[in-house]
Amino acid sequence: MADKQYFERVNAYTWELPKWFDARMQVPARLYCNEQIFDLAFRDKSIQQLINVAMLPGIVKYAMAMPDVHQGYGFPIGGVAAFRYDGGIISPGGVGYDINCGVRMLASTVRHEELAPYLEELLTVLYQNCPSGVGGKGAVRLSQKDLERVLERGSEWALAEGYAERADLVRTEDGGSLAGARADAVPPRAKERGRPQLGSLGAGNHFLEIDVVDEIYAPDVAQTFGLVQGCVVVQIHCGSRGLGHEVCSQYLRRLQGAPARYGFTIPDRELVAAPLDSPEGRDYLAAMFAAANYAFANRQVLAHCARRSFEKVLAGKVRDWRLRQVYDVTHNIAKIERHRVAGREQRLVVHRKGATRAFAPGHPDLPEVYRQTGQPVLVPGSMGTASYVLAGAERAMEETFGSTCHGAGRMMSRRQAKRSAHGEDVRAALRRQGVMVRSGSMRGLAEEMPQAYKDVSLVVESVVGAGLARRVARVRPLAVIKG
């Protein structure tokens, strides 16, 4: 296990473990964080997991961890690793079980004071219209053929079915529809799990939140993003539900023999991988993209349900109830991207496991509307605390393959959280802070207590200090729905 002494401090927010630390490392390991978070990273197995990632074949530059890093089950959460497209690998554990878990933000010009008399009613209607909870059935009934279309087209399916506006797709990573998705690569059991669940939040740390914009740091950028001080926004955090989990499980299983077949070793079975140009590697990529499309469609349907709820409660009572999309980001994914490495543009398979893409101003993959500002980056805090909207910056392109953090990052185990408080106490404490909560599970609520997470403002300070992103706005919660 690496001690802090082996790390070199490259600058105020960057720490590097040289690859001579372990002969199996192909590249150094890097953490992007301030000193306080650097110390926290040694309290669990994050560092060893990061070192394990550095051992994978075809890895380029560094195995990286963002400041919300914590122990995972293979890759650390907050991990970023890119592999050569030619001769490199793809690793389901580098994406995770919740493929395309991500965040969507919708903004409005509804002022907090306008909403206040109707907030409780709105929360109730949202809780009814946006299904949540373990095994929860979704808002949409799908036939087998519908599901195949969802898998292959993602948000484009939602647009065709009337759940989206074109502007929503423009303001979604990859237009909410990854080319190369194949429904036939998705195992039948995954489809069976996913068919009844489209349009549902799920459980765990997933949520739908009503927030108010309480601080603007970059007024011009905030205006382009549609964020107005004192006005209400909605955040939706969820992923690909049972379909994604099943795709990950089954491909982890299918790939177990791949390292031996293709002549490489891995330090942990959960890091199993296959060459991208192998049959199993190609199938996994296609299935993972299909599951990602399902998650984009899922968040799109939930956004539609949120819009219907706002309309039902607020139409005629506020000036303009409408919700306009800011952006939708994914934080569990692997993508084929072009990046400059050692002066040369290379095609890479970039894995982001609890990390968010943060493309800088001018990037051709950004929609025209955000080409000058850089990509919106949505960083939800823990329940009841602030969330941040950032914009991608040039240093991210140079240092981290255009990546940054995804949230606050846990630091207390679920076991410890359950022992420290009851769900009812957590709900009461949030109520005293002025945050209303609807939750299906009290014990689940205890596990998600704010104290179980790092301070998101420190995480944001680290990515801003490292030049990976800049602050645009902060939002604070008014009401939360948790599964």
Binding site: V134, R193, L252, G444, G483
Partner: protein, 135 residues
């Protein structure tokens, strides 16, 4: 009779499991997993679930077994299983009957049993292993 202990893990759930023999290990791992989701004493014995699996090694078989139970637990209404009988259990094949029934809620959520650092070890008392669950 096997036993389990919940381990500290920052974001997920993890168990250390001991069993006198392989069936005991597999049954205890399943009971331990469901104990993270429900009160085991409140699980009814109204449903039986036949399970038949084959895998290349015992660790994969264990992951398959636990994920199979999770799948059936979530499939229609929520269910949990607390009693298990094995007609066949070798390191690569399993035929079992799980007994359990519908429950009103899960207090936590497990996406899957993972392969992380998974190793089924033979000891002087039988078998032991540590399993991490993604939540």
């Amino acid at each position: 009779m096997g036993h389990w202990q919940e381990l500290e893990h920052t974001a997920d759930l993890a168990l250390h499991v001991w069993g006198g023999d392989l069936p005991d290990l597999f049954a205890t791992a399943a009971r331990g997993m469901f104990s993270l989701l429900v009160d085991l004493t409140a699980v009814p014995a109204t449903q039986t679930l036949p399970v038949k699996l084959a895998a290349p090694d015992v660790e994969t078989l264990l992951v398959d077994w636990l994920n199979e139970l999770l799948y059936w637990g979530e499939r229609e209404r929520l269910a949990a299983y607390a009693e298990f009988e094995f007609a066949v259990l070798t390191p690569t094949t399993l035929q079992a009957t799980a007994r359990g029934g519908a429950v009103s809620e899960y207090c936590s959520y497990i996406k899957a049993a993972t392969f992380h650092n998974l190793e089924v070890r033979v000891t002087t008392e039988g078998y032991e292993t540590e399993i991490v669950f993604d939540t």
